[in-house]
Structure formats: C-alpha cells, structure tokens
Symmetry: C2
Subunit: 268 residues, 2 copies
C-alpha cells in the first residue's frame, strides 16, 4: 500500500458522490437540525453520500482509519486517516445553489497529504496528491476533459487582493473584528461559497480565504489542493491548518504573512 | 409583432451569452473599475456579451428600445424595451464562481412581461413569458433537457423561511438595520448569489430575496420569472419592482406581507 492516491481513485470517489447526492439536489428533502443552539442542517443526502464513500474506501484501503462528519471515526490499523465531509455546504445544497461540494482528504499521521473537492452538479473535480494539484470536469459525453494543473495567483499586495468567506454569522465578536480589519484592506470581499472559495484560490482566481470555527472535515481535504497549487493555509495563530478552527488560506506566502499580521490583532 | 417571447428566442439569447462570456470565464482578464467611489468591476466579457445580445435583438425586434448596463439606452419606435445585464455578478465572474448570470428582460411600457436568467457555465436557463416561468439545462449532448415549469414554495411562516442577499456591503446603515431585523426572524440567511437567488426562489428552494440599491437591469428580467412562478416582488415601499432600488421578493403573498412589515421600519 502506498500513500499516493491516483487520479482514478479521486474520479471514482467523485462518481460515488454524484450518484448519491444529485438525486436529492433541488428536490423536496427533509432537513434535520443537528444542533440545538442554531440551525445546522443535515439531510439524507449527507448520510447516504458518506455511507457510500466509506464503503468504497473501506474496500480499497481496508487498513486506513475513516473519519466522517455524520458517522464519526472508524479506527484502522495504520497511520492513514480518510476525512470526509459528504456535503460541505449543506445550507447551499438545500437552497439549490451549486457551491457545495464533497470533500475527501487523507491524513498521514497529522499531515494532510491528498484530497479532493467534487461538485457533482457542475461535474467539477479539484484534487491533489503528491504530484500536484489538479482540475478536471465532466465533458458532454460523460468523460472527463483534459486535466489541468492548478496554480495560485502571484498576488502579494493586500490592497489588490480578493477575500472570500462563507458567512458573516460564522464569526463571533472578536473574530469578526479581526476579519473586518482585513476586509478594510483588500480590494474585494465576497461571501457564501463554502468549499468553492479554496478551490478557486488554488485555481488562481481568489487570493484569500478566511473562515472561523471550522471542523477538521471542512478543511483537511482542501489543504493539499491549496498547498500543491502554491498557496499557504494555516490557523490564525500560524499553526498547521489540520488542527482546524480559525483558518486562513492565501495565494502566496507574502500575502499570507500580511493577512496573518492583521488577523493576529485577534490575539491582542 | 407580438409581445409573447418564445422559448426559442430565449434559448438563442442564452447561446449568444455563452458564446461571448465563457471564453473569458476563469481566464486571466483585465478588470476595469467603473466607479471612483468603490470597486465596480467591468470586463471585456461584459462589453462583448452586451454587444452581441443587442445585435441579435436589433435584428429580430427592430422597433423595440434596448437598455443595457454597459452601453445605455438605444431608443426604438414602440412601447417595448429590452433591458440587459450582460453579466449580473461580475464580481463572482472574475472570482471564477458560477453564480453570475446573463439577464435579459422585456418591458411593455413600465411593466416587465418576459425575461431570462442564463448561467452559461452550468448550462442553466430560467425564463418566463406570458405562459409561465420555466427552467431547462443543457444536457450532455448540447441539447436542452425537457423544460420544467417553475413554482415557488408554499412558505408563509417567516420563522421557517430561507433569506438570501448578495453582500452585506450593499446596505447602508439604515437599510442594514432593517435587513438585520428581518434576518433575526428567519431560519436561515445566505449571502453571495446575485441573480441566482431569485432564480432559486422561483424554483422553490429559497423563500425571500432582499437587495438594496439595485439598478433596473439587475431586476427587470427576474420580475416575470418570480411572478409567473407564483412569487411576489416589489420595492421595500410596496411599489412596483420595475422602479428598482431596494427590492424584496417572496415565495408567497403572505410571506411578502410579513417581511415587508419588518423592512418598512426602515421608513420610520
């Protein structure tokens, strides 16, 4: 067994995600609330997609651990752990807006080494392994179009940068203050994209992504996609992004350093 | 000449929009700023798409007026005016996120009677004429999938509703206060969708869309799509949405009335 996950393996995972999630997309669907404190929706689409992805991974990588958003940890026998968010952006999913995605990442010990973000409605697949960060899309005939290598933009000026985050509501008062300081420095701020923004950062069309209070399954899969494209992603205190929590991703190390400096007023 | 615009006419417009805009999408593109006061981007994709749509409409409806975001008004000889936003959501466009769309609406005197929202990257087409509000999408073979009739959700409870808006930055202090009052009443608020949210309202997956300071070309095309699907769309003071400005769209008349009551604290 090697840790190098092939393009075909990601394509198989993306096919499974599409098969399980799309029949529920833009259909009337029961939405359950996972949390008492606020609205944290989950649907049959989340549960069914995670179950099918787990089954496939278990079959092909029987010794690895699997951690999923809906089911939790299934402990394996080696140092590899698959981390699954079957539908990252369930709020977008239930609203019919195709900026949700299926996230599957692979940890070796505590380090993210491979991952994918698949968007079944648009047929897009972003993935990374030890050889780079890549993009492809289903063509008209059901086959994938030629694979393109992803490369972040060479943006170093904060004043020219485009900043993305999911929703104002994800911030508490202290993190909101730090975020708003950063927002005042950049050229353009956009909201509402979940996993789509980090994918666009890797593709070179977004320069900064800042999120607060994210879970490991929200970010692990995206770390290799960002890093292998030339980007930098960490927690707001500069520690590895695999820890999750408050996250900042940037197109270049210079931009990351400048944005981090502003966000770290959070710790003062 | 009749005012009833056929499905084929909208499909032709959507083809033109795709042909002109997609070659620029997710490519390095020069972004100009239209306003001095803030960042209001425009690209060659906006200009080229509007020019091609104008040319097609001029050819097939030579007596109608045409008003476009980038070029302005071309005065015709009758009571019909086409209103074009070649790329509604240029900010999303330049960030690679496919929630922008091409909007083409038709006014008879001051009333919106037909319109379309096309999303070229996903191949989606939402349109309305005197016979109803409809959705179709490019299938794998380049043909359109069977057309579906759009119908808003039968949502009347504000506490169960999903609310969309484009960006917190679109509100000034007074409109933000009113919006935040409404936000506190609903189940879920989402940001960042431009013309995609009204389309999802017509399709039955979003219940309320609230925007501030919009231009006629941002809303005219969407009015028939919302109304023919059973929704209600007006300005915040209850006057016709064709005037543009501050806009509220709702899935049902009851929900519209309840949300309007809250937003109208704006006028106190």
């Amino acid at each position: 067994m090697t840790s190098d996950i092939t393009q075909d393996f990601f394509m198989d995972l993306a096919e499974i995600a599409a098969r399980e999630s799309l029949p529920f997309f833009r259909q009337p669907i029961a939405v359950d609330n996972k949390k008492e404190a606020y609205f944290d929706p989950v649907t049959q689409a989340d549960r069914q997609t995670e179950a099918a992805l787990r089954q496939f991974i278990r079959l092909h990588r029987p010794q690895d651990s699997i951690l999923g958003e809906e089911v939790g940890l299934d402990k394996g026998e080696n140092d590899y752990t698959w981390v699954i968010d079957p539908i990252d952006g369930t709020r977008s999913f239930i609203c019919g807006v195709p900026v949700w995605g299926t996230l599957v990442g692979l940890l070796h010990q505590t380090r993210a080494i491979a991952g994918m973000m698949a968007q079944p409605f648009t047929g897009e697949l972003f993935y990374a392994n030890e050889t780079g960060s890549f993009f492809t899309r289903h063509g008209g005939d059901g086959c994938y179009l030629p694979v393109q290598k992803l490369k972040t933009r060479t943006m170093t000026n904060l004043e020219e940068a485009t900043l993305f985050t999911t929703a104002p509501a994800m911030f508490d008062e202290r993190t909101r203050n730090a975020f708003q300081k950063l927002e005042k420095c950049v050229k353009l701020t956009r909201f509402g994209t979940d996993c789509y923004a980090p994918a666009m950062l890797a593709a070179g069309f977004v320069d900064l992504v800042v999120e607060a209070g994210v879970q490991p399954y929200d970010i692990i899969a995206l770390i290799p996609i960002i890093e292998q494209a030339g980007g930098v992603v960490t927690c707001w205190d500069g520690t590895p992004a695999e820890k999750a929590g408050n996250i900042i991703a940037a197109a270049t190390p210079q931009l990351h350093a400048r944005a981090l400096e502003i966000l770290q007023t959070f710790f003062l």
